[in-house]
Symmetry: D2
Subunit: 155 residues, 4 copies
């Protein structure tokens, strides 16, 4: 099952080339993770019940690696882009989050702008040691598991 | 031969985790490319003689893919980080730029924060078609050629 | 009449002090202006019928001055902040936009985070000369006219 | 006496209008304050001996208000802009920092891009109460005292 996160762009995401800046796309992915992984009042966010990485909490989620393919430039859009997210792999203390960024839901034809993945490592905030992913966490992650992205532009 | 770009951080690169934000690292890599690829008065920037991707010019350099491994968190530093850059591959119309971000040059021991690569595609600004890399460009790029990065955290 | 723009924060707006960064607040105001002044499909944005400042268009809106008072720090919030906007003054070629940023609409008690104003100058994109505000524009602006902000912290 | 802070721009400071974004200018001012107010190894920064506002320290410096006049658009520049800073007023627990942003030092003619001021309030990080500025601090601040900016575009 994929999570769908509608994410509004800002005009300041756009750079002098008139497209969403390549670095800013990682801000969008970060915000999408936060929407999926952090609890919000009244929202159905089951992942946050088992993984809460907010600053000051007991668990830190460090980013170990990221990979991205830009398929189409993203223009400034007034409607939120449609980010699909799922979990591609679960390791001993790590998690691969996969994303696809699509045109806003009410725009036709639907087009894929970006494919990306982020490997997160769970770390104990007290001593910086990797935190083994628990059986309970695995069970929740399994609900959002799909095949990891195959990146076509790797050499 | 590697290019060395000393790049000052800004305090605003640091996020609520007190480290340079993962997306902001791509801003640093972008700025490093600009220092290497864009002409500046009185600077020795041979690459810019054969590739000038500034907005409004005849050539656009689109980013097709990026890959990054974060080895150590980057704290706020008052001295510029030391970015090493080289060209890992030259294709028909594309270029793989490789980077390593190190501690400032006067800091011991020297530590590697980040390894990353960016694949650029050269495009004709007038018609958006890929631009074949010329023999003259290849000759200049060859001066900065080294083995492409091998990413250790790929699965 | 005031315009109400609900504007979602991003986690990256927050800096190492765990509050929305002072500079980032100006990004929020910018985005609020764009929501008010730029046309969007299916939205009721009467201001945009008489003032469209998008890059590449005939009119540029330059910012001449800004003033801001930070009353309460803004934390990271999952609900959009509530930005009220109105036009405090209309000059020969200039416009003073006033703003108040409030807690999200569903949060009690309602609190005022920020009061700010921006003076825009309308400029002809072709020759950079100030553009006289027309009678038609004045009529539309008049619908959103209220007393300009009185800043309490000026000395 | 004014402090001179040379501050490198980044290409990402530039927005779709091809000028340094209005909000980004506040990032530059923030970075200039940090250069002036935070200690750096081997640097002559007398202000930092009496005021160290780094996150986690005993003193927080909150921003109460800011005011800015944009006189000329700032293009992307490869040479650092020249920021002049001084202290315009010292209150019981507050400080008004004034700035002028000029063309890089080796560029003729010298032009003034921006005039701005920031009012900082010193707060006890433990209990959020205003911290009275000490006699020792006043003595150091007095070295950088000049007339506060007179803003010409206020109405």
């Amino acid at each position: 099952m994929r999570l769908h996160v509608p994410l509004p762009l800002r005009w300041s995401d756009v750079d002098a080339y008139q497209h969403v800046n390549n670095a800013e796309v990682f801000r969008l992915l970060e915000e999408a993770r936060i929407h999926a992984f952090w609890p919000a009042a009244g929202e159905d966010a089951p992942l946050t019940a088992v993984l809460d990485g907010r600053p000051g909490g007991p668990t830190m989620t460090l980013i170990a690696r990221q990979e991205i393919e830009y398929l189409l430039p993203i223009p400034y859009l007034r409607e939120p882009v449609d980010i699909e997210m799922w979990i591609g792999r679960v390791g001993g203390a790590s998690l691969e989050v996969c994303y696809e960024i699509y045109t806003p839901v009410n725009v036709a034809p639907r087009e894929l702008y970006v494919r990306a993945s982020t490997t997160l490592v769970l770390v104990d905030a007290a001593n910086s040691r990797p935190l083994r992913i628990s059986a309970e966490q695995r069970e929740v992650f399994a609900q959002y598991a799909e095949e990891p992205l195959q990146f076509g532009k790797r050499r």
